[in-house]
Structures are given as structure tokens and as C-alpha cells.
């Protein structure tokens, strides 16, 4: 019995530490249908069909062509293997599945400040694809589960040791995948002509935004590229990217104004979605960062006001009012800024300014759905 335990534990250990590599994939390759990879592709192909009919899908042809273009530049030979889907989701995320399905979330598009930052993230994701990290992780997890099960049958400390060994090798492995994706993603972006500074810049403000969160858990926990990403972004990754970028000639895609022009048509709707996360600390940090360029100040100040209005903390009314007042002096102000300002003036007892604000709203948005409501407010103001 003792001998059997030892033998079983030994075989379990062997499974655990045997590296289960998935080869980097050649372009335009499809796995054999009967393989594990073929099964996963089949499942992902069906998930992709669902996405095609998703209400979250952003079908703007201009934006789609733009992102697919950046993907193709960074992906090189793999361009034809990757299908990009833009999803209206206010979190920073992009996913590349092993079958070439690529999700780019609006939260990433909104947060990137330059095309080179976007190119770095896409390069990171494309590296996961070309290196077949997803399949590699699956095979590793499968081996680990097998070992854990064998270990649970084999009682005693040896079995437990084998299971622990498997768990440790899995997490070390996925951290290495992330580092490789950072490194090679940056190289891909640079090879496509992009500025090398995008990587470090991107991860730096991801950490800063996490620190600005309303929630203690987010502030004090490790920063993550998305709520689903299990691999924290730390100073070590930023230092590595900074070192990699050092001494390289300036590349393309580092102009913030050019990138802003691309996302400008979506800026307001993406900011509105961002506020739905109800993390006003992060939203305000983001708006502050986006404001440094000095353009779009009507939209940005309006949503700054919205963040304060929705947060409803002590003194937030005054902060919201200041933000709306800054917004209404700008040419790109959303009409709603006048309505919100009117509501704040009503509350402060300033009827004259409230009336002017409501009238401005109605003249700028004559077809507004809530026109009747604002007209009622105006009548109430006249009656008092």
C-alpha cells in the first residue's frame, strides 16, 4: 500500500511538472477538428455568432475599419486570422480568443490616449493569440486538475505535495504568459511603426486610475486591466516596458489630438456608459486625464458635472455647478448641461438664471423627450 502511494504520487508529480506547451501557431492555421483545440475553436465559433447579434456590438463602420486597421498593422501576417468586434462595455478590456475572435471594449477605446497605446494593448492580445496562450493555459489547467484528482485519491503528504506543485507551476506559467505578451506585444507595435512609449504609459495610468477608485478594495488591491483579468499590472511590468522602450527612435501614433479625433463621435456615449459603473473617483480621474489635451471641454466638463451630481457627496452640488458652468461656455457643450444647471439654480433659489438655463436647453434641444418636464419647471418658476 505504501509503495502504491509513492508510485501514484510520483506519476502525479511527473504529470504536474511536465511542461505542456502549445506551439506558436503559423498564420492561417486551423486545428484538427478532433483535437482539444478543435473542440475549443468550435465552441468559440458559436460564441462569435452570438456576438454578431449582440446589442452591445458597435457597428459604426468608420470606427470598425479604424480598429481593424490597427489590428492588421500590429498583427502582420496574422491579420486575416483576426476578426474584430467592438463592444459597448465601459471596462478596459480586449480579448483575443484562440479562434481569432477579437473583442475590443469601448472602455479601452475611451481610456487610450494615443493610437500607440491602443496598438500596444492589441499587440499584447495578438501575442496571446500567436503564441496560443489560451490553449496552453487550458492544457495546463487540465493537467493540474488531473493531478489534483489523483492526489485526492492518493492519501498522505506526497499526494498533497504533488497538487501544490501543480498549482504553483500553473500560476507561474500564466504570469510568464503575461510578461511575454507585454514584451512581444510592444515589439509587434514597434515593428508596425508605433511609438514604443505606449506600453509603459498605458499601464501607468491603469494603476493610477485604480488608486483613484471610490472603493477601498480597488484602491488597495493590485491594478488589473479588467475585472476579469487575473493577472495584476505591477511596477515590475511597467519598469520592463520602460526599459524596452528606452533609446528607441520616436514612432508613429503618439499624437493625442489625432487619436481624440477618431473617438470624438463616441466620446459622450462612452463617458455616459462609464458613469454607469458608479465608480465616480475613477470616472473623475479619467475625465481629468482626458481633459489635459484641452479639447472637447464642453463634453468633458458636462460629464465631470454629471459625476459630481450622481455622487451626491458633501459639496458635490457646488462642484457639479462649477463643472456645468465651465461646460456651457464651450462650443461642444451637450444641451443637457443647461438643464442640469437650471435644476441646480432652482435649488439655490436663483430663478432668473434657472429660467435662462432652461430656455437655453429647450432652444438647443427642441425635440428633447423631457421637453414637457422642463416646460413645467419654467411655468413653476413664472408662477412664484
Amino acid at each position: 500500500m505504501r509503495l502504491r502511494n509513492v508510485l501514484l504520487a510520483a506519476s502525479a508529480w511527473a504529470v504536474a511538472v511536465t511542461p505542456v506547451f502549445a506551439e506558436p501557431r503559423p498564420p492561417h492555421s486551423r486545428p484538427v477538428l478532433s483535437s482539444d483545440e478543435g473542440g475549443i475553436w468550435d465552441l468559440l465559433d458559436r460564441a462569435e455568432l452570438d456576438t454578431r447579434n449582440s446589442a452591445e456590438l458597435d457597428k459604426d463602420p468608420v470606427l470598425n475599419a479604424y480598429v481593424q486597421g490597427v489590428v492588421c498593422k500590429v498583427a502582420g501576417d496574422y491579420c486575416a486570422d483576426l476578426r474584430v468586434y467592438l463592444l459597448d462595455r465601459p471596462y478596459l478590456n480586449a480579448i483575443t480568443a484562440p479562434n481569432g475572435y477579437v473583442e475590443v471594449w469601448s472602455g479601452l477605446m475611451l481610456r487610450a490616449e494615443t493610437e500607440s497605446e491602443l496598438a500596444f494593448v492589441l499587440g499584447h492580445e495578438i501575442t496571446h493569440f500567436t503564441e496560443n496562450h489560451g490553449i496552453e493555459q487550458w492544457r495546463k489547467a487540465r493537467a493540474q486538475a488531473n493531478v489534483a484528482m489523483l492526489a485526492s485519491i492518493v492519501s498522505g503528504p506526497l499526494g498533497l505535495l504533488a497538487a501544490l506543485g501543480a498549482a504553483a507551476s500553473l500560476s507561474a506559467y500564466s504570469r510568464e504568459d503575461e510578461r511575454q505578451a507585454d514584451r512581444e506585444g510592444l515589439e509587434r507595435a514597434v515593428a508596425a511603426g508605433y511609438d514604443a512609449g505606449g506600453g509603459a504609459a498605458m499601464w501607468t495610468w491603469v494603476i493610477d486610475e485604480a488608486k483613484a477608485s471610490d472603493f477601498k478594495k480597488v484602491r488597495e488591491g493590485p491594478a488589473r486591466a479588467s475585472i476579469f483579468n487575473t493577472h495584476p499590472i505591477d511596477q515590475e511590468r511597467i519598469a520592463t516596458l520602460t526599459a524596452l522602450a528606452k533609446g528607441r527612435p520616436a514612432g508613429a501614433g503618439a499624437d493625442k489630438a489625432v487619436y481624440r479625433a477618431v473617438i470624438r463621435p463616441h466620446l459622450a456615449s462612452w463617458l455616459r456608459d462609464d458613469l454607469r459603473r458608479r465608480d465616480y473617483g475613477q470616472s473623475l480621474y479619467l475625465i481629468q486625464r482626458l481633459s489635459q489635451l484641452g479639447t472637447d471641454m464642453g463634453v468633458l466638463n458636462y460629464f465631470k458635472g454629471e459625476a459630481y451630481r450622481l455622487r451626491r457627496g458633501a459639496g458635490d452640488d457646488a462642484l457639479a455647478q462649477a463643472a456645468y458652468e465651465a461646460a456651457v461656455t464651450q462650443i461642444d457643450v451637450p444641451p443637457e448641461a443647461f438643464r442640469e444647471l437650471g435644476n441646480l439654480y432652482v435649488r439655490a433659489g436663483d430663478k432668473a438664471r434657472a429660467r435662462t438655463a432652461f430656455e437655453s436647453y429647450l432652444s438647443r434641444a427642441p425635440e428633447a423627450q423631457d421637453r414637457w418636464l422642463v416646460e413645467t419647471s419654467l411655468k413653476t418658476l413664472e408662477g412664484t
Binding site: 478532433s34 473542440g39 475549443i40 475553436w41 468550435d42 465552441l43 489547467a141 487540465r142 488531473n146 485519491i153
Partner: protein, 230 residues
Amino acid sequence: MKRLIVALACLAMAACTTTNVKTSTQTLSVPKAGARVLLVQPDVQLSVLTIAGIPEPKADWTNAARDNLRSQIQSSLAAGNHPVSNVKPDEAMEGKVGQLLRLHEAVGLSVLMFNYSGFSLPTKPRTGPFDWTLGEGAQALGQTYNADYALFVYARGSYSSAGRKVAMVGAALLGVGIAPGSQQAFASLVDLKTGQIVWFNMATAGPEADMRSPEGSKALVAALLKGAPL
């Protein structure tokens, strides 16, 4: 001895395909002769159980089972004097038709949940009438495909890998039991005038009804459509 008998009984129960039919008691509008039936491509997903029991999708099995089930259902329907048309959800996921196909998936899985598992809804007691509908919006499906009824088949299942089979034997020697794979399917017949599910059956496949083979599919379809008003 008692244990052995229980074990044998369990084996005997697992050894054949079992089914459980539900019929609408609301509107018994069963298809008349010549009623046109729309066969929705069976929704199948099969997987292999790894040693540890993690289901890993198997595309070749899934495709084979989907084709087998479709052709077996087709020949079964042909015997019943019903003109049959086909629709592949992959090619019809847009618009109202796509929404109805997805709605049926949601309703069908709800039937499984509330009529076949331990759960029940306060509004649909298990002893009460079988009353599930897609609503009259289902007419859009009938109009688009020129059909009076739609037949949906949904199958999920797993089969043990060779490694798991070895582990089962090895673990048994150590006195530990490891569960093998299992396969379930349901069929649902929808009246496309009213949207009502007029007939529903759930089958658990026995070893003779392995849907990966044409013969196994034939056995599974025979059990699944047994007593269907078609």
C-alpha cells in the same frame, strides 16, 4: 448482498435509454395529417471528460451527432406524412426569427429546470398542467418557413476519456467511485399558430443510444420521439 442488488439495479437502470414525456393540456392542437413541420437543426454539444472530469468540447463528436440526429429525425418524420423543412440557426440568427430560436432555447431549458429537476415555480406547480409557450410571436417563424409546427432538439453530453476510464478502474481498486459521462436530450414540438409547446420529451441516453454513431442516434431518436404526435 443487499448492496450488490442495489448496484445491479442501478446498472440495469443506467443500461437503457429513459424518457419522460410532457404534453400540453392547454390546447391539444396536435399536428393533423399533412401539417408542415419545421425541423430546427439540433443544438448539440458533446464533450470528453478528462481524467479529473472536466468536460472538454469535442467538435468532431458534436458535428457527427448533430448530423446523425438530424437525418434520423428526418427519416422518422418522413414516416409520419408531414412535409418537413429545415432551418439552421447559424444562418438565421438575425431579426425576429433568430430571436424566436433563442427564445425557444430559454423556454426549453426552463422546462427542463422546472418540470424535470427538483425545482418548481410557484406559478407552475409540477402537478399542474404543462403550459409553456413562446407566445403568438412564434407565428413569424411559421410564416417565414411556411410551417405549422416547429420541432426543436437539444442535446448535451459527455463521454469518459480513455484516461478517465483507467482512473475509474484504478480508483475503484482503491475504493473510490468516479462518475462516467452521461448524455441527455430534449425534443420540443411547438404550435406555430399559438406558440404553445404541445409536446415535450426528455431522454437520458443509455449505452445503446450513443448519438455519435448513426445506429446510436437511431435508438436515441426512437426513444426521444416515442409517442410524439407526428
